[in-house]
């Protein structure tokens, strides 16, 4: 049996770990509320941009905009959204496993593929598996705004248009509730549009010109989708961390209970042994 001192030391150590996990859980809960608000606030913008892109597509003429057709290139480009920080349960692992399945499936065929990876955890995964990504974006979440997201969208759009990529796929965690996040794999490019009605539509006046407006706005629509996905991912990450840290705190409490029991048993055993020694000593003196 472990010595009393060793057990006492372990109890102290588990208790301090529990304090840390408890604090992390509370911080995640507080941040989650904010992140949830941000994701909700962005929904109006995302909805507008999406609706507008649809209306634009409906008016883009018989051959449509290049964004609406499969690209001329070979590559399938993935945009993988992971977190920078760990200690959030299976948040990154589950997503990356799903992504790896997709990746492997396509590896067998002759289709080329690349990935743009957001988040330190994604980078670490790629390193560990020996995969090469086109680009790793680490520390992307600090000062996250539409302005920082747009270059990513522009890059995707440019590679799609110049015949490098055939399609672009987005993989991220969507926030459903504080206890449930869904891994979403969705097509970014070509943009999926419902079958267009052939009815004559009143066209817009475009300022400054049709080409300039359509290109810029469809790229913005792409950016808005990525931005929304990032916000959802941040909220999901915090929710996952909250749950994970809550579990860790509970596990620590269980462990403390078990250790305390062990400690008391060991203490009792030591006392019993001492008593026996004393009694034996006294007995032998009597003779």
């Amino acid at each position: 049996m472990a010595s009393l001192k060793a057990i006492r030391k372990r109890i102290v150590s588990v208790k301090s770990t529990q304090k840390v996990t408890k604090a992390m859980q509370m911080i995640a809960a507080a941040r989650l509320r904010k992140a949830q608000m941000a994701a909700l606030g962005a929904r109006a913008y995302a909805a507008h941009v999406k609706a507008m892109a649809l209306r634009l597509a409906e008016r883009s003429g018989p051959e449509g905009h290049p964004f609406l057709r499969v690209g001329r290139g070979q590559e399938t480009e993935y945009l993988v959204i992971t977190s920078d920080r760990g200690l959030c349960g299976g948040f990154n692992e589950n997503l990356l496993r799903k992504f790896a399945d997709e990746w492997k499936q396509a590896t067998g065929s002759d289709a080329a593929q690349t990935a743009t990876v957001i988040g330190r955890k994604g980078r670490d995964y790629f390193r560990a598996k020996g995969l090469t990504a086109r680009e790793h974006l680490v520390g992307f979440y600090e000062g996250l705004s539409m302005a920082t997201v747009l270059p990513v969208a522009e890059g995707l759009a440019a590679r799609f248009l110049d015949g490098t990529s055939r399609r672009a796929v987005l993989i991220y965690n969507r926030f459903r509730s504080a206890i449930a996040q869904d891994i979403i794999i969705e097509e970014l490019l070509p943009m999926v549009v419902p079958p267009l009605t052939t009815a004559l539509k009143v066209d817009y006046i475009y300022e400054p010109s049709r080409a300039a407006v359509v290109d810029r706005l469809l790229t913005r629509a792409l950016g808005a989708r990525i931005y929304q996905a990032l916000l959802e991912s941040v909220a999901s990450e915090l929710a996952a961390r909250m749950t994970a840290m809550d579990n860790a705190t509970k596990n620590a409490a269980d462990m403390i209970q078990v250790l305390t029991m062990q400690f008391n048993r060991a203490r009792q055993a030591a006392i019993t042994k001492e008593l026996m020694d004393i009694v034996n000593g006294a007995e032998s003196l009597k003779k």
């Binding site: 941000a38 606030g41 962005a42 109006a44 913008y45 507008h48 941009v49 507008m52 209306r55 634009l56 705004s145 539409m146 302005a147 009143v202 066209d203 817009y204 006046i205 475009y206 300022e207 400054p208 300039a212 407006v213 810029r216 706005l217 913005r220 808005a224 931005y227």
Partner: protein, 84 residues
């Protein structure tokens, strides 16, 4: 005529207005009720809208404006009330 003012962070304003003045990429323009469908890129600058006789001025970032079925949607990177 309805105005919706959106940023990627938050919906800043939604309501009925009588006129909207916007900083278009090719110069400032005004939208009045019954305007035809319009899509315009916006540059960073000042916008204002009139509602029940009061004028509200805002400083906005880059973005775009859409007029569709008498709804003006202004989607910009940022929007803040002007002090002036």
């Amino acid at each position: 005529m309805k105005l919706k003012l959106l940023t990627p962070q938050v919906q800043v304003f939604e309501g009925d207005v009588d006129a909207v003045t916007l900083p278009g990429e090719e110069g400032e323009f005004q939208v009045l009720p019954g305007h035809t469908y319009l899509l315009s890129l916006l540059k960073a600058g000042e916008m204002q809208y009139e509602s029940q006789g009061t004028t509200t001025r805002l400083t906005v970032g880059e973005g775009h404006a859409e007029v569709y079925e008498d709804i003006v949607t202004v989607a910009v990177d940022s929007a803040e009330a002007s002090s002036a």
